[in-house]
């Protein structure tokens, strides 16, 4: 597969809409023609939410969907940046650096994919599922959330996946329990060629372990606190069997087999 790589650029973006799509989760749509035309599934943008607040850093967000010159971001309000983002209204101007990072890899000859999304881990799966469907790959989605009201992007997933199964912590939809129960069952039943995972890191680690046992390749999208987003500051390191990697440029998508999951406190045991 030969994917054209687009160099990142700073692009001013205009807010088109910003609304609640699930409990505690909103979707902001940004007019961003350059980024929307260049972004690949699993890549992210580094968003400068406000120029005048006392928080200075950008926030990294995966691109959920990109179409018609617009990008969609799903976000949960967790701190200063996302609180300010929630206050954005149409016609507000922000800027993004993007597209950034190394996204999902869809291997030639794949027939069946299992996509495992936990909570906001559904965000980078929108573009992925669209890409898999375009390639005629049969997709099973296993999605987890705290409750039915927090399951994201149901319509999109239902329309593009052969099967979309869910688990909730409170049993208000699907299986009462963790999505890792569903991923284990699907690995056994479906024998997918590739597994894609995003969600809380413990969940990613468990699914990665299931895939390793089943002998199925697995990709994970990891989240780290980021500074520059372009590979310079070394804030977002991920410990791999090949040394320290940067989530922003070497990731956020990694081959699960490369990741050293037992993170402990000190990279490589310290010096």
């Amino acid at each position: 597969m030969c994917t054209e790589v687009h160099a990142p650029a700073i692009e001013p973006v205009v807010v088109v809409s910003n609304e609640r799509v699930a409990e505690g989760v909103s979707r902001i749509v940004l007019d961003a023609p350059r980024t929307a035309g260049a972004v690949e599934p699993g890549q992210f943008v580094h968003l400068r939410v406000s120029r005048h607040a006392d928080f200075i850093l950008r926030r990294p967000f995966s691109v959920h969907r990109a179409r018609d010159g617009r990008i969609e971001i799903l976000y949960q309000v967790v701190g200063l940046g996302t609180r300010a983002l929630e206050d954005a209204v149409p016609d507000d101007v922000m800027d993004v650096i993007g597209p950034l990072g190394h996204g999902w890899h869809v291997p030639e000859g794949a027939h069946r994919a299992l996509v495992v999304a936990g909570g906001l881990g559904a965000a980078p799966m929108g573009m992925l599922v669209e890409r898999l469907a375009e390639r005629g790959i049969d997709v099973t989605l296993a999605q987890g959330a705290p409750s039915a009201g927090r399951l994201l992007a149901r319509e999109l997933f239902d329309s593009l996946c052969s099967r979309a199964i869910v688990a909730t912590d409170d049993g208000s939809a699907g299986l009462c329990g963790f999505v890792t129960v569903l991923s284990a069952e699907q690995l056994e039943r479906d024998r997918p060629d590739m597994v894609y995972v995003c969600g809380p890191e413990p969940m990613q680690r468990i699914v990665a372990g299931q895939c390793a046992s089943a002998g199925v390749p697995c990709q994970v999208s990891l989240e780290r606190l980021m500074g520059c987003g372009i590979g310079a500051c070394l804030s977002c390191v991920v410990i791999t069997h090949d040394g320290l990697k940067r989530a922003c440029v070497d990731g956020p998508v990694f081959d699960a087999a490369d990741v050293v999951w037992d993170t402990g406190a000190d990279p490589e045991g310290g010096r």
């Binding site: 650029a9 590979g231 390191v237 990279p267």
Partner: protein, 307 residues
């Protein structure tokens, strides 16, 4: 076209303009070359380079603070040999002076790295980092007492004739004493400030956010502290001062030069807008032009020279 003379000198080194990058915020420049031509900068100052590879600190390595951030990267770098073969070889192809930041656990390690870099024609100057707050041995430990600072500078001065800049820590009671001590050992310039020692405690976990507890504070929050220290040091020594600390716009750079800085560096702002450095360089030229200032060096220390 503006007729402002933007050239400045740091020891034997002439820069096309006074704007450089602050070590550790710009990698070795490769990451930023997607956004602008590095040849528009006064100089690129690289991340810290040590004798052996350093793995740096555990995550999380940063935490945001009001108008700033704490970092605890811990000088992760591949060691001087890998640096020369990789980043330096790339930088040698760029049309910009290269200043390599040098770190070590012991004075002799600094000297060994400096000696290795002295043999590289692509290196225009060395910046001796005796002020990183994020490593247990070396780093800031050398920058907070005069004898230790002097020892490191003496050992590096002995092995190189390249322009020698010493990066000072603000975490001292009198920064001018340290500045005088390193000047006496042959430093061609000093740069300041490195980050201020800080801490953030997570009130949910009752623990510091950063695994090492402390980190280095940078960003606009530190600018007044940095300007004050540049003002003090520039009046205490005869060699040039490179000023930095929270510069985000041309006006901030002018403020440092008025305080006595002969050149300036942009740090944390590179994370916010990767083109900040060139914006500051162009804007500083406009700042001078609109005020009828013919040479950017006319700004240096103007806040106290004409009192």
């Amino acid at each position: 076209m503006s007729s402002v003379d933007m050239r400045v000198r740091i020891g034997e080194l002439e820069l096309r303009n006074p704007v450089m990058t602050a070590s550790g915020t710009f990698g070795s420049g490769r990451e930023y070359a997607d956004f602008f031509d590095l040849g528009r900068l006064g100089a690129v100052v690289t991340k810290g380079v040590s004798l052996e590879p350093w793995t740096g600190n555990p995550s999380p390595r940063i935490v945001e603070t009001p108008s700033g951030m704490l970092n605890s990267i811990g000088l992760q770098n591949p060691g001087v040999e890998a640096f020369c073969a990789g980043d330096l070889a790339w930088l040698a192809q760029q049309d910009v002076p290269v200043i390599v930041n040098v770190v070590g656990h012991r004075a002799d390690e600094y000297a060994t790295v400096a000696e290795r870099l002295d043999g590289e024609s692509a290196v225009d100057a060395l910046e001796v980092n005796i002020s990183c707050p994020n490593v247990d041995a070396g780093g800031m430990a050398f920058g907070t007492t005069c004898p230790a600072a002097a020892e490191v500078v003496r050992s590096v001065r002995a092995v190189t004739d390249k322009a020698l800049i010493v990066k000072l820590s603000p975490n001292v009671s009198d920064v001018t004493e340290i500045a005088r001590a390193v000047e006496a050992e042959g430093a061609d310039a000093v740069s300041l400030i490195n980050t201020l020692l800080g801490m953030v405690i997570d009130t949910r976990t009752f623990r510091p956010v950063l695994p090492r507890g402390v980190g280095g504070l940078s960003g606009p929050a530190v600018r007044p502290v940095a300007v004050r220290m540049v003002w003090q040091v520039a009046q205490a020594i005869d060699v040039p001062v490179i000023g930095m600390g929270g510069i985000t716009c041309p006006n901030d750079a002018a403020e440092f030069m008025l305080a006595g800085a002969s050149a300036v560096a942009v740090g944390t702002a590179n994370f916010i807008d990767p083109t900040t450095t060139v914006g500051v360089a162009d804007g500083l030229e406009r700042f001078c032009a609109t005020r009828g200032i013919e040479r950017v060096t006319d700004l240096v220390g103007a806040a106290w020279k004409n009192q």
